[in-house]
Amino acid sequence: MTALTKAPSELAPAAAAPVSAALIGQPIPRLEDAAILTGQARYTDDLPIKPGTLHAAILRSPHAHAEILGIDVQAARAMKGVAAVVTGEDAKRFAAPFLVGVRAPMEHWCLAVDRVRYPGEPVAVVLADDRYLAEDALDRIEVRYRPLPVVMSIDQALSGDGEPLHPAVGSNIVNTRPFGYGDVNAAFEAAEHRISTTVQYPRNSCTPMECFVVMADYDQADGAYEVLSNFSGPFAIHPVMAKALKVPGSKLRLKLPPNSGGSFGNKQAVFPYIVIMGVCARVAGRPVKWVEDRLEHLMAATSATARRTDLEAAVSGDGRILGLRMEQTDDVGAYLRAPEPASLYRNHGNLTGAYRIPALDVVNRLAVTNKTPTGLNRGFGGGQLYFAIERLMHRIAVTLGLDPLDVIRRNLVPAAEMPYTTASGGILDSGDFLAAVEAATTDGGLDELKARRDKARAEGRLYGIGYAAIVEPSISNMGYITTVLTADERRKAGPKNGAQASATVSVDPTGGVTVTVASAPQGQGHRTVLSQVVAEVFGLRLGDIAVNTEFDTAKDAWSIAAGNYSSRFAGAVAGTAHIAATRLRDKLAKLAASQLNVTPEDIRFAGGRVFAAGNPDNSLSFSRVAAAGHWSPGTLADGTEAALRETAFWTPPPLKAPTEADIINSSACYGFVFDICAVEIDPVTAQVRIDKYVTMHDAGRILNPLMVEGQILGAFAHAVGTALYEEYAYGSDGRFLSGTFADYLVPTACEVPVPVMLHRESPSPFTPLGAKGVGEGNSMSTPVCIANAVADALGMDISTLPLTPARIAALIEKPEVARPASLDAAPPKAPAIAGGRGLQGEGTRTVPASPEQVWAILLDPKELAALLPGCDALDLAGPNAYRAEVVVGIGPVRARYLAEVELTDLDPPRALTLSGRGSSALGFGEGSGHVTLEATADGTRVVYRYDAAVGGKVAAVGGRMLDSATRMLIGQFFDRLIARAGGPAAVETSPSLLTRLLRLLGLRP
């Protein structure tokens, strides 16, 4: 029995009653860190692959919207190292379209079928021996597209103009749902004021540092898929994936790794790739691995919904809101992808925020646009909601000449009314909001900030103070999404509600304790907090508890609510682990009681001992009691159950399905956040500097203050990005423009100040430990709080984000001086390209030859081929029309374009138009240049104007360089023309620094 005597937690018996320090609530540094800090932690891409694994690279649409006329994969398939090329045809054979959350005829396949609807939509997958070879082969896939008109904004979708993305739906507003709670009309009739506002929330996302990873295998004999991926949940998506792969859930075994490089909700959106890679493994008959790169992530992974919100409030003379009319329209991207429309409904129970607003009318709409489908993103719908609500509060104060803080105070739900049921059904569970506000203003030093503001303004500086008060929902009700359905539709579909959390606590034959949870942690310290909770239950040390956060749908206890989202860990998962541990402890107490001859109620657990409360010397080691079920089940008293393993499922009691009247408590609990922000705006650079930020949180009982503050700091940093820097930008023609971290600007250590963090603890009556979520509050409160401060500083309305210097400058700067008239008298513009943003330019060069000689060169295909940069030969395709392969490098990428070149508007030897269009794996490009030739004393003066458009990968990563690259290419063209006509040799002697660098790296010839 050495296993028993050498058990790790065995301690020497103590004379006095053993004690264990309280662990729950303590600021215990993380147990996860040592492995990470020494490089030992294993993330998905670090885990071993099966022998014979193929590596996938994905060909993505360069167009925002286009019909697919044909895909030719022959050349790619023939390349060395390529095992297979998978397209929408394979998807049609082996998969089904994803389930959609509303009743509308929209088909979303994992790989595009017939049509692409957003830039970056997966079109084909190359499977090769390594990733480098797979990417090489992408270049050889030829896709013929017919571009279609694009829908690029909510307003455009609302206007009804434009091509329907899903023709069978017929409109780009794919769902409209009105809701009414209370007598709003009466409120408006009674109110002294009507105050309205309209705001637009941008597209952005939290961009975890680790991108998506999927390893998939298909077992032909069992017809079963096995996948390892850094998916984060919710596992309500598991049935969506299984149905898309046309297998029962039991045939889609999904495993999660021990470590994840962040999610913030975003890793939910790996699920379509799990399906793609499942199909790929099945087609190839071999395991496949795919690692998303950063361009793919920024362009096509996921995004927060953009939202337009129109609010109109009925307001009393002293600033109380008596009723609210709200219209929300979410831009969900090209497809309504599960779990959307969750962004729009996650906050349905708390649409009125932290305020007592008795009457509410809502119209919710879903708009589809030619952009990436949306999904979970920290704050999930809350940033959008509160940007509207809290801007409205500020506006009410400004309109009525009140202090914004007073308007907030007058509308807050009073503590005496807790738990408070909102008009739409949310049950705000606990808290004293007003007391929290007062504490924040005092402890946060609001008076000093006001003095700073007075002083700054006296000096003519732009200084402002903003506030935001919100409730932070946590532990989502699995039924809230069905609020999008009508009561009738819901009846047919069956009720949906609750949020099952699960945890398993077991003891091993050495008396060691292991905890497994279906929580998919992404860096929040679940191992540490679970160790605290379970060690405290058993009176053990932290190190005695092993927490396994890997996850396997084939072996672990889980349900659809499993996963890492909606701030459900502290309230639901840690609480469920507490329940499981307590049940196991109670069973152990029964076993110990019979051995110690006391009643189970007298048994205590502390210091690694199990003992009688009245006589601590009457004790056993914990490990001996815990191991007994393994080693000596035969000695258990009759009817006594061995205590080996306890699995608990727990669902929050208040989470019911939506009622007939669409009343829905969308989350189990609601924390409170109140923020104060002071900013100064530089009048020259238009930059916003956060002078001070105070954030007060009441997240119920705090399980570990270090983790809580870590969550607040992280959400705050994300929110600073949302407020000031981050936006997924698109051209009006649909080109995606934010494909690198040099374009999509994430705040660095220089931009994120440390806020003053304040806490109150009002335990939730609805969660096992009284804890609520805390990881998303600042993602909801901070963007609008900063916006309110900026509005206060400028004395202007702020209706959108991010508040970039360009946007602020447009508000504070006088209009730019008009362009001198002389410049507008330039030659007529070249014909504009439909949908082209226009890389436009003009120039003049003198060629040492007569116009006739120049004309002859331009009209000779061999000569023209030699002039075009990156072109070897032109094949005649018609009168003055050619086909060519052209290799063009822009920025860090080089592409082989299949191009069509044409000379038109021929007016020999005076004028012509040279136009071309081409496409490659890196995107498409098209342009035309109008050229006039004029005889001069030195030869021929060539005047040109051009208009070009570039889309796809080149535009996404090289956007900042396109203009200069275009000028460089045109320069090369004329250098060669001049050399050809007898001038000095083409100026190839002084390549740009970039060109030299790329040559060094072997990326340029």
Partner: protein, 179 residues
Amino acid sequence: MPSLNAQTKHPVTITLNDGTRTGHASPRMLLSDFLRHELGAHGTKVGCEHGVCGACTIRLDGVAARACLTLAVQADGRRVDTVEGLAPDGRMTTLQDAFNRHHALQCGFCTAGILMSLSDYLERVPKPTETELRDMLSGHLCRCTGYAGIVRAVMDVTGQASGNADAKDASGRKEPGHV
């Protein structure tokens, strides 16, 4: 400089954290891929592969460098230090320890790169001001921590802050970076 053939893999030998390791790389293979997939040194992470995020930072002959902007063949014959080499005997350095105490990491995906940059930087600038430190850290993107714990940890190990992370409530705390 040897002439390399794009179509073939070439032997690349590096001194990796005091050990000699040899693998094979085609000329275009990134050092980050070589370390991770050829040598199995997974501690170095890849976050953007275009040189902005800093997650893949290693030390090349002692100097912090982006492994994603370095070709494996460029490292041939040179010394490469990665996060795995910071605590060779299993005992964490004072900086690693401070990262733990100050909760300077959450998901940890950016951490290896930040530690490698700091190990180079603090040798050259042993007592940076907070402004200098934040300027250096701006070469790294972290999405979890808001950088607060990282700054606290470095100010602590450079003897410029209390090191007490046990303060339970930040309301009274005057830590670096508070505005």
